[in-house]
């Protein structure tokens, strides 16, 4: 038990080999967005090697889910990417619906789209805010983004009872119907978000310092992005037209008119800009969905929430979460708990290319490149 502690590693200068300096960034670093660690080897301030180290937030989410019922896993999915619990719910229930062959009422599909797009809105806004925070702007844009996010979180609380851990969707629909006046409030907040975006862009997009910092930094070539399985805005910033909302048309996404913004160079600025443009498209979807929202049941009355026993088999369902492709792979052996439950975490897989993107840049760039990938450690480490 009480083994003597290992000898203290020599610190500071004595540890440098030749001209290189090895720095451990994290797990307690202000801008690793959680307990993430990078072992960085520096030549001066230039990165020559970068090794990400994971697992500080590992709780074996998958094992927990393999001991819980299908229903019992939904609150745990909230805690994966804890910024976007709605889309996590969605990806999971979509997979269970595939596995068990459950149909979803139309109204529930619309509500899913509405809350899903709202999640995308505030996720991207916060990310752009964090990007400037990482560049050292004291979080002013982050505060503006949080101001708008609060409004959406209030809506989520009115809807589901909790601001961040919504636990709202159920296989076969959603847990409860929209409260009185909710769609009107949502439309109002959507309209307000539009003007917020204009202000936000006035503060950020043209800013010379931001452009100097982000242009040409962390370039992700198209081929590497595809091969390394990068998804989400990071992929589209590299110019690959791949949006699961368009490819899979899951839910009812084929009914909405929206476009997929694509970047050209795949640097940090493109990743920022693609997110901004995506927010505008999300607003369009939101308005259409709120406009067309039909009446009807919120959940398939035949669906068994408790004690769901899908036929033995497997299913992989995926959605375009704000971070990228969020997938759930489920194997059922016919019992009430999933035999195998796997999360395909976009945050983790997008980190595959972190080293490639950071090579040859300075330590200050590492921070913003990491920020532009958009990770949430709850999802990376699961």
């Amino acid at each position: 038990m009480n083994a003597p502690p290992p000898p203290l590693a020599p610190t500071g200068r004595s540890q440098t080999a030749g001209d290189l300096l090895e720095v451990s960034m994290g797990p307690h670093h202000p801008s690793t967005h959680g307990v993430f660690r990078m072992n960085v080897v520096l030549d001066g301030e230039t990165v020559v090697k970068l090794t990400p180290v994971f697992g500080y937030l590992h709780r074996n989410h998958e094992k927990i889910a393999e001991k819980n019922s299908y229903l019992g896993s939904i609150p745990y999915t909230d805690r994966l990417d804890y910024i976007c619990s709605m889309t996590n719910n969605w990806a999971y229930v979509l997979s269970v619906e595939k596995l068990a062959g459950i149909a979803v009422p139309e109204r529930a599909e619309y509500i899913r789209v509405i809350v899903g797009e709202m999640t995308r809105l505030f996720n991207h806004a916060c990310l752009a805010g964090f990007l400037l925070q990482d560049m050292g702007a004291l979080g002013t844009p982050l505060m503006y983004a949080f101001r708008e996010r609060e409004k959406i979180l209030d809506l989520f609380e009115a809807l589901s009872g909790s601001r961040m851990m919504c636990n709202y969707m159920r296989f076969g629909g959603c847990r409860c119907d929209l409260p009185e006046g909710w769609p009107e409030k949502a439309a109002r907040i959507g309209a307000g978000f539009e003007s917020f975006l204009d202000e936000f862009e006035a503060l950020l997009t043209g800013n010379e310092i931001l452009r100097a910092r982000s242009e040409g930094v962390g370039v992700l070539p198209r081929e590497l992005a595809v091969n390394a399985g990068v998804t989400g805005p990071g992929l589209r910033a590299s110019g690959v037209n791949y949006d699961i909302r368009k490819v899979d048309k899951y839910g009812i996404y084929d009914r909405f008119k929206f476009r997929v913004p694509l970047g050209e160079r795949g640097d940090v600025f493109d990743r920022y800009m693609v997110r901004i443009l995506e927010m505008r498209e999300s607003l369009m979807i939101l308005n259409q969905a709120l406009h067309d929202l039909p009446d009807g049941a919120i959940i398939d009355p035949k669906v068994r929430l408790r004690n769901l026993r899908p036929k033995a088999g497997e299913a992989y369902g995926r959605i375009e979460s704000p971070k990228g492709e969020l997938g759930f792979y489920l194997i059922s052996d016919g019992g009430p708990i999933p035999y195998r439950y796997r999360v395909r975490p976009p945050s983790l897989i997008n980190l595959t290319v972190l080293e490639d993107m950071c090579m040859g840049h300075t330590i200050a760039d590492v921070v913003i490149i990491l920020g532009s990938i958009d990770i949430v450690l709850g999802e990376v480490d699961r």
């Binding site: 994971f54 697992g55 590992h58 074996n60 998958e62 094992k63 595939k98 596995l99 068990a100 062959g101 590497l224 595809v226 091969n227 390394a228 399985g229 990068v230 998804t231 690959v240 791949y242 490819v247 899908p310 036929k311 033995a312 088999g313 497997e314 299913a315 992989y316 369902g317 995926r318 492709e325 997938g327 792979y329 194997i331 059922s332 195998r340 796997r342 395909r344 983790l348 897989i349 980190l351 595959t352 290319v353 480490d381 699961r382």
Partner: protein, 191 residues
């Protein structure tokens, strides 16, 4: 997209000698998968990625599944000579399925927009023959995911550039996602 059978035939034609099997999926999802053998897995993966009509350039998900040894009782159709006439009858037979570890890959094509194609690789058993060829040389996206499979399931990927534990710490000994994992007996107390 072509059906799984067509894809199987194409791989078989391109790689003579490859042993392939289609594994059916009874769930309404209807996602059958293709079992590849160890020797040809890497070649087959490369073929799937590069063949112009397939172009599965994107390996979305890679994960492991643990199948401990189990016995199943099932009705088997048996051909029997009854009174000199060959007849088919059903019998209840107990069958032992040997345990194995499985690596499952979900492939999509970003270029052509189709998918998923699910390929599986199986180890010989769960104890000493747990080596599989790594598909990371074909798809970079498998790099961390195969590390994770190695970490949590204990499948050793041959040809992986950097096969270390990823989520558990380095001194950890067991593989927590295996079905027979017992936390008390693990390295947790030791570390």
């Amino acid at each position: 997209m072509q059906t799984l059978e067509q894809i199987k035939d194409r791989i078989a034609a391109a790689l003579p000698g490859a042993r392939l099997a289609v594994i059916a999926n009874a769930s309404p999802a209807g996602q059958p998968s293709l079992l590849l053998d160890h020797e040809h897995a890497l070649e087959a993966a490369r073929f799937l990625r590069d063949a112009p009509e397939l172009r599965f350039d994107y390996a979305s998900n890679a994960t492991g599944v643990d199948w401990p040894e189990r016995t199943v009782k099932e009705r088997v159709k048996v051909k029997k000579m009854i009174d000199g006439v060959e007849k088919e009858t059903e019998e209840l037979a107990e069958r032992k399925i040997p345990g194995c570890l499985e690596a499952v890959y979900h492939l999509y094509s970003m270029e052509l927009g189709h998918g998923p194609l699910i390929i599986r690789l199986r180890t010989g058993n769960r104890t000493d023959r747990v080596t599989l060829p790594s598909l990371t040389p074909v798809w970079r996206s498998c790099e961390f995911q195969e590390r994770e499979i190695f970490d949590l399931f204990g499948i050793v990927f041959e040809g992986h550039p950097d096969l270390r534990r990823i989520l558990m710490w380095d001194g950890f000994e067991d593989h927590p996602m295996r079905k027979d994992y017992a936390p008390a007996a693990s390295g947790e107390a030791k570390a």
